[in-house]
């Protein structure tokens, strides 16, 4: 009973088509085990990830967002991940200031050969999210002060 009804975090991953997506692929083909909590969206480059995507994901009820791209210097488009780095850095800091738990937005550099690292990252992020619990940031408050879960 406790096992079956245990809450599982929902994690949305934006993976760069050239590195992290291939890294995730490698994790699969090399039979690495990692939590099945991640839903993946393939993006052309981590630089494609708009801050809006991140906030919209939280608004829609995802418990966390993981943005992953090529290591700095390895971007297929040369500078995409550098730009992503600035954007994600300010988004993360700003959300933290507003009161969003820092664990909810995470970012990593995973290359196409790092299947093992991808599995580790997903496992760590999932653990972090289990710690902070369900995302109720955008839920409506009921009059008695408790919250109801709502999606968009």
């Amino acid at each position: 009973m406790t096992q079956a009804s245990e809450w599982k975090p929902k994690l949305l991953g934006f993976l760069c088509r050239w590195c992290s997506y291939a890294g995730a692929d490698l994790a699969g083909t090399s039979r690495k085990k990692y939590p099945a909590n991640i839903r993946v969206i393939k993006v052309p480059c981590s630089g494609r990830v708009d801050s809006l995507f991140i906030i919209k994901a939280l608004r829609m009820g995802f418990d966390g967002v993981l943005v992953s791209g090529c290591h700095p210097g390895d971007c297929h488009y040369l500078t995409g991940n550098y730009r992503a780095r600035r954007r994600i850095a300010i988004t993360k800091k700003f959300l933290e200031y507003l009161g969003v738990e820092p664990q909810r937005l995470q970012a990593s550099w995973v290359s196409a050969s790092e299947g093992g690292k991808f599995a580790e990252v997903v496992a760590e992020v999932t653990e972090d999210l289990k710690e902070v619990g369900p995302n109720q940031l955008f839920s409506e408050r009921k009059l008695d002060g408790t919250k109801t879960k709502t999606g968009s």
């Binding site: 300010i90 969003v100 760590e124």
Partner: protein, 316 residues
């Protein structure tokens, strides 16, 4: 200063050096001014400079075609430099009439101090570092710390750095960061959940009039993301969730352009402390990338540039 401005503005129009003059003229209510945008040289006589020239006139630059002579306080000049960085304005097409600004008087603070509505006050004058308010024939003295806008207390550039004509003696910056950053410091001490609740409450009041966006010189998108329908990022009706998302994304969009001029907070009809957001973003950008908006017209825009090594501690 005012006389010099009028002469210069008139001369600029007469000599056909500019097509437009953007400045301030007296408003219809007491202690107000209103932006004056004119091509008529006789209008130059109406131009004023006083402690109530609130608007950030750089906002009008992107909407005007032709060469413009613009009255600029320190913060306005930074916004203009920001627009130059973003290639929205060509430096040669603007004549910056620089006003060394001693800070603007926040009427809301005066009302609180004097215990009277602004219509009931007889006069507000400034004498050095003292603000003298006349109520019912009686004079009350206040300090600048008590009466200036919070963003003016944090001002790093009272005299424009980038200008063509300087209208007065340059003023050295004397920021009182502690007073002006008090709100943020207090907020940061609370727990994350409390902070979120605070913003939730604040943004429940938002009516999505978009005054903040329209008054902001850094918000110059042709089509704002809130008006997009495919995909519809935020719902148009004012629910706190969407209001908050709008403001968060707006702040992220203007990061590196926002000069903490405080216009968004001043124009907000429901008094949401928006400056507590913009000021924090200003601080984040400075802390992470040592970038100060609108200081150097040759600098690349924040988000169009990068360093090899930065912010790595935020990534796995």
């Amino acid at each position: 200063m005012e006389q010099k401005l009028r002469q210069e503005a008139k001369a600029l129009l007469e000599q056909n050096k500019v097509d437009w003059i953007i400045g301030f003229e007296p408003g219809s209510l007491k202690f107000t001014t209103t932006p004056l945008i004119t091509r008529d040289k006789s209008d130059a006589e109406h131009l004023v400079i006083n402690p109530f020239i609130f608007n950030n006139l750089a906002d009008f630059l992107t909407g005007i075609k032709g060469r413009v002579g613009i009255v600029a306080k320190g913060c306005d000049s930074r916004s203009i430099v920001g627009l130059i960085q973003d290639n929205k304005v060509v430096r040669e097409d603007v004549v910056i009439l620089a006003v060394p600004c001693p800070g603007l008087i926040d009427l809301a603070k005066i009302e609180r101090l004097a215990g009277k509505d602004r219509d009931e006050l007889d006069d507000i004058t400034r004498d050095g570092d003292k603000i003298i308010v006349t109520v019912d024939g009686q004079k009350k003295e206040f300090t600048t710390t008590q009466t200036l806008f919070d963003h003016c207390l944090a001002c790093e550039l009272p005299t424009p750095q980038e200008y063509d004509i300087l209208l007065g003696e340059p003023r050295p910056p004397a920021p009182e960061l502690e007073v002006s950053g008090q709100n943020i410091a207090e907020l940061k001490e609370t727990l994350p959940a409390k902070r979120w609740e605070f913003w939730q409450n604040e943004f429940s009041r938002c009516i999505r009039c978009y005054a903040c966006r329209n008054a902001c010189p850094a918000c110059f998108c042709q089509r704002c993301f809130v008006e997009e329908t495919e995909p519809q990022w935020v719902m148009p009706m004012p629910r706190w969730q969407d209001n908050l998302i709008f403001q968060v994304i707006r702040n992220i969009h203007v990061a590196g352009r926002c000069t903490d001029c405080g216009e968004c907070e001043r124009v907000c009809p429901v008094n949401i402390p928006l400056r507590s957001l913009t000021r924090e973003m200003y601080g984040i950008v400075d802390e992470l990338f040592s970038f100060k908006s609108g200081m150097d017209k040759e600098a690349l825009p924040l988000m169009a540039h990068y360093e090899q090594e930065e912010a790595e501690d935020l990534f796995r």
